[in-house]
Symmetry: C2
């Protein structure tokens, strides 16, 4: 295992002593440090068990010597993933990741942040599509864009009965069978199913049809599954170094498991949420990456926060934004609207591109101050301007800075965020791993689609009454 320097920081905008009406003073954060640390310790004592099994994922692929709760479940998985990814890339394949919510966001986040593209001097030979909605127009668009002779798919549903995923898969399988002219044997080799191998209709179907199963054990909950085959196959197809990604996750896990409050980004970030929620009336969490590639980290963390902590009348509402763009759309509200927000900036210190602003508009002197600056300078100045404005208006904010976009740093960041949410669940005494509100609406949808059974008849009656 390589030893890599941790290239990551969380900057807390603690404002004591400043003239700007600080909302979070050092003492307030320090006041909860012990509570937060104890919650972390309880989490660590439970690790590997029940819903905390996911913490062991980065150690479970044979890339460390540790024996984990998953035993041999994943012993073949990285081999299968690499073989599949190489095959798909060599064929210049169109890889369709079929999943929704926690079965898609991890893959989207990794591929968006790290998928190697032209601007890095290299273009990914494979195309990756993630149809995570059943909008007929959008699914129709996807079908028109696919060359069925080059399609590969990973169908992801732990339970095996996610309605949207099954519907999209049924359609994709049908068109591949009808229109691709692939032999049945080749078609089988093109389809991967990521599901609970122990039970569910999708595992059954995969076995009867001969599709390769990638394991998604029952203990792993969708929103904590980025380091499972759900995230890793798409990542490998995109050319992301999965080993580095998992190493970043392990290093972050070890640091957050052991380091004291002052050196522990998960503890500090959890403390910000906790003080905000319990003492400051902070109900909104603004996720503001200054990086188009990190935009989907906002989507991913939004799910973690909303589904894990949004229950029993509690919770913070995550709000996805993008810097610089949303300075010209949302910043007015953040600065001058209700003081119910914690702003979380994500930034990248070194961008791959070093584009310079040329002096092509020199015929007008109003623009000379920009000439020969880099886009990096401009992007950074805009971010700093926002941070200064937030600061001066007393809006609490903090920033995660990645030295660069790398698999190691992404593994690190996502792990810090996952552990923050586990700690918060413990602190707020909510079960961070269920989503009862969502389960209910899934049942209504099945009822309206005519699923048979007494429970569905009852649900249909409720709907009929409400629609009167």
């Amino acid at each position: 295992m390589n030893t890599k320097q941790v290239d990551f920081s969380l900057r807390l905008a603690l404002q004591d002593g400043e003239p700007c009406g600080a909302l979070f003073a050092k003492e307030e954060i320090a006041g909860v440090a012990e509570n937060v640390t104890e919650a972390r310790d309880r989490i660590e004592r439970g690790r590997g068990k029940g819903p905390l099994a996911f913490l062991e994922l980065p150690y479970s692929y044979g890339s460390s010597d540790r024996r984990t709760a998953f035993g041999d479940t994943f012993s073949q998985t990285l081999g299968t993933i690499h073989e599949a990814a190489n095959r798909i890339r060599a064929a210049r394949g169109q890889f369709v990741h079929v999943g929704i919510g926690g079965s898609a966001l991890g893959a989207i986040t990794l591929v968006t942040a790290l998928g190697v593209t032209k601007s890095m001097g290299y273009e990914c030979p494979a195309e990756i599509h993630v149809p995570d909605n059943v909008d007929p127009d959008w699914i129709g668009e996807l079908l028109h864009r696919l060359d069925l002779t080059r399609v590969y798919a990973n169908v992801v549903s732990k339970s095996g009965d996610t309605t949207e995923t099954i519907a999209t898969f049924a359609l994709l399988l049908e068109v591949m069978r009808e229109k691709s002219n692939l032999s049945p044997a080749e078609l089988r080799r093109r389809i991967f199913v990521t599901t609970n191998p122990e039970e569910g209709a999708l595992a059954e179907l995969a076995r009867s049809e001969g599709f390769t199963i990638l394991p998604l054990p029952d203990a792993i909950h969708g929103r904590f599954s980025v380091f499972s085959p759900m995230g890793l196959l798409a990542a490998a197809v995109a050319g992301i170094d999965v080993g580095e990604l998992l190493e970043g996750a392990r290093v972050a896990d070890e640091r957050t498991a052991r380091a004291p409050f002052g050196d522990n980004p998960s503890l500090q970030f959890a403390a910000l949420h906790y003080v905000g929620l319990t003492q400051k009336g902070i109900s909104n969490l603004i996720l503001l990456p200054y990086s188009n590639r990190l935009r989907t980290v906002g989507d991913w963390y939004s799910q973690l926060v909303a589904e894990s902590l949004g229950k029993q009348g509690q919770g913070m509402t995550p709000v996805k934004a993008l810097g610089v763009t949303d300075q010209h759309s949302q910043l007015q509200l953040y600065i001058d609207g209700p003081k119910d927000k914690l702003v979380v900036v994500f930034s990248v210190a070194r961008h791959a591109e070093t584009l310079r602003i040329p002096n092509s508009l020199a015929s007008n002197s109003a623009y000379t101050y920009l000439a020969y600056k880099t886009f990096n300078d401009l992007f950074k100045a805009e971010r700093e301007a926002t941070e200064v404005s937030l600061h001066l208006h007393g809006v609490p904010n903090c920033r995660f800075e990645l030295a660069e976009l790398s698999p190691f740093n992404m593994g690190y960041l996502l792990t810090v965020l996952e552990k923050t949410v586990c700690i918060l669940g413990e602190l707020l005494s909510v079960n961070a791993f269920d989503q009862p509100g969502v389960e209910e609406s899934k049942e209504y949808a099945r009822a309206m689609l005519g699923k048979s059974g007494e429970q569905y008849d009852q649900l249909r009656e409720i709907v009929a009454k409400l629609s009167k």
Copy 2:
């Protein structure tokens, strides 16, 4: 002028009499109807003047007999736009719309919702790119994707000094000059500048370089500029019928200007916001389109709400979501988290696609309930399930339904939303047309980029002090 049937509805989920803990009863809405209507009447009396000039945009292109505040400003504009769009489409051009915030969102919204694509049996011959951020990596990506011999640009900045827009334009102009081999005359014909023709460095530059100016008069504020050349040139390039779009805007304007509360979507929607804000502790506005194509309506309305109403400690925080996808990410929070949300669904009754879910998974009986349903059925069942869940959990919600995605209906919807926000500004006694918080951060950014002048020296000092 065609007479078109209005194909649009706003469904208010008023819950009186229901057993679910209604938050908005009919009487509560009725109780503010007079106030809201009076605010509308004040807006209508001010129309055409000052910042309310934008309401006259749909009448100002010579497509109606009305004389508007803009006089002859736009008399040539539609001709210029159609000529340019035809030229760009005939050349299979790459059209780059350079703008940010209000100078980009209208164009993005129209093109995303209505840009004609393959699934509608026809592919737009032109490509449209909207670099509305200065992320170096993203700008780098764009440059790699452009074939400079086919590039056309519309540079949009009313003031002419939007830092991000100018930087991107400087770069684009430089690479077009250096690498496209276009003659100076042809290059000039490829660049359009949408700016205040009366003042600003961009208008000056355009005149000295010979670029075509499309007018964006000082009275039109960015977030209310969708029906200006900012939105219309991109729309025309995408193949959108601009005449139908403007007609939809006019029909909506006339209805919302005159119709009484019970038949007036702007009045009703404003009332929901107003009761929510002033009586119910609603601080979050969840924008939940069930349509990938309407997703950017959420971005667009978010800016309208945030910048127009987010001031003096007031305002609702808009939260952008997407149905079905976010049922699997955010719905848990909406249903079971704090009761501080108003959920606004946008839906489309008839989708262009009529895809059916085939019976290809019939080898497993768990999936038979889905077979032969359409994706429309599925999408609709999911939306209804969400609405029922929200209803049963007492979460206030409403829905805008478009009969179909059409230029007329989009013009109609956006106008209803613009007028809602004007009415709310009046009701809440805030200036809906300024954005002082944003202006401040723009100045900080310029200071950090080294702009000269005493005011910038002072700002740099503040930053230096804070960064210590």
